[in-house]
Amino acid sequence: MAKKEIDVVTPVPQVSSEATTALLRELVAHLRQNRTQLREEWARRITEAQLLTAMTKEEIFAEATSVYDNYVEVLESGSIEALQAYARNLSERIIPRGVETQEVVGVVLLLRDVLARSLFKKYQSNFDLLNRVLDAYEPAANRIATTVSVGFVQERERIIRQQQEAIRELSTPVLQVRERLLILPIIGVIDPQRSRQLTEQLLRGIRANRAKVVVIDITGVPTIDSKVANHLVQTVEASRLMGATVIVTGLSSEIAQTLVTIGVDLGKMKTVGDLQGGIEEAERLLGYKVITSGETSQLLSA
């Protein structure tokens, strides 16, 4: 998939003429020859531009070396697969350390600049040849820059998706605490997507557990916006349509304020101060009566 996208961004010119191939070969030889010097120049420019501040000098130099070698390799072979794999691997290592996208792009563009300058220097006497060398170099260099940046962004997106997935799975447990009584503890900010998912799980839970009473505890929710508040009210009504009573507990003063401001009809919604009160109310609705074992023995002996 990555490869396809890159092809769209910078169409690879078919290496048609032998001249281009020859030029690229010459280019690669030049870059190999000056490896140490160009690599150092690059690392120096990175430090100068204050990029990759999250990494130490030695690390930057080590990474710069492998990127440089990869870069030359791609110029030579024209195959970006190895570079793609390397870019992914690199991104995996540096993303957790807080490296930003613009830094990665900046670093790759710096390398491009360093190499181009060395080419200018080498061929400055022969303008025609310089032109042709750049014709060969530019598309390949652009392609490499895109590959590395896209690889980084893709890795980032992959991590984001993975985390969203994890949050989704963790976010809304529907728990049965007694026969026909469910509790739904909600912790953290509710966004529209999460509220949709919450409703879905609750309604399914009602059917699966044949619940009569559901306690939604929102002690762990700091604030909600009016959209989510409305959604909550809708969830309560949908549950009623399925024959279940919903008790909402643990409304913070901010949330209470929001509900009042948007003018929710409180007659439709049962609210109790805290989770304990909510469960007690639910037990009352279900006809349970909780007594301590001491009282039972007293009742029995009496």
Binding site: T199, E200, L203, R204, I206, R207, R210, A211, K212, Q234, T235, E237, A238, S239, R240, L241, M242, G243, A244
Partner: protein, 124 residues
């Protein structure tokens, strides 16, 4: 598509089997109103488990069924609204406000039985 209406003791059970046209809904309403009088039923259960859509007309008809039957002396419970249907209805603002609802047939019967018991003890 006609809706079968079963008599079960003092209750009538209308079990909708497939999507209904507006005309079907109206004939269901009339049929229930007639039979409640004829069998002197005290409770009616309308089972909508098979419906995967409840539009505004269906909802309004359910409401008018409940109100009509109330006037004819029977209590109505709508049972088996599916999760997706329930949420879609609420989003459309169709909340069946003054109509009793229950999870399924069993719950609906339990609801009606509770109502009867209350009535009987209240009368004594």
């Amino acid at each position: 598509m006609e809706v079968p209406i079963l008599k079960q003791g003092g209750y009538l059970i209308a079990s909708i089997q497939s999507a209904l046209s507006d005309a079907d809904l109206l004939s269901l309403r009339d049929e229930l109103a007639y039979r409640v009088g004829r069998f002197r039923s005290r409770g009616v259960i309308v089972d909508v488990t098979a419906l995967d859509v409840m539009d505004s007309f269906a909802t309004r008809t359910m409401r008018s069924i409940a109100h009509m039957l109330k006037l004819r002396g029977a209590e109505t419970v709508i049972v088996g609204i599916q999760p997706e249907v329930a949420f879609a209805m609420v989003q459309l603002g169709l909340t069946l406000e003054d109509v009793a609802t229950a999870l399924d047939l069993e719950e609906g019967l339990a609801y009606l039985n509770r109502g009867m018991k209350r009535e009987n003890t209240g009368a004594r």
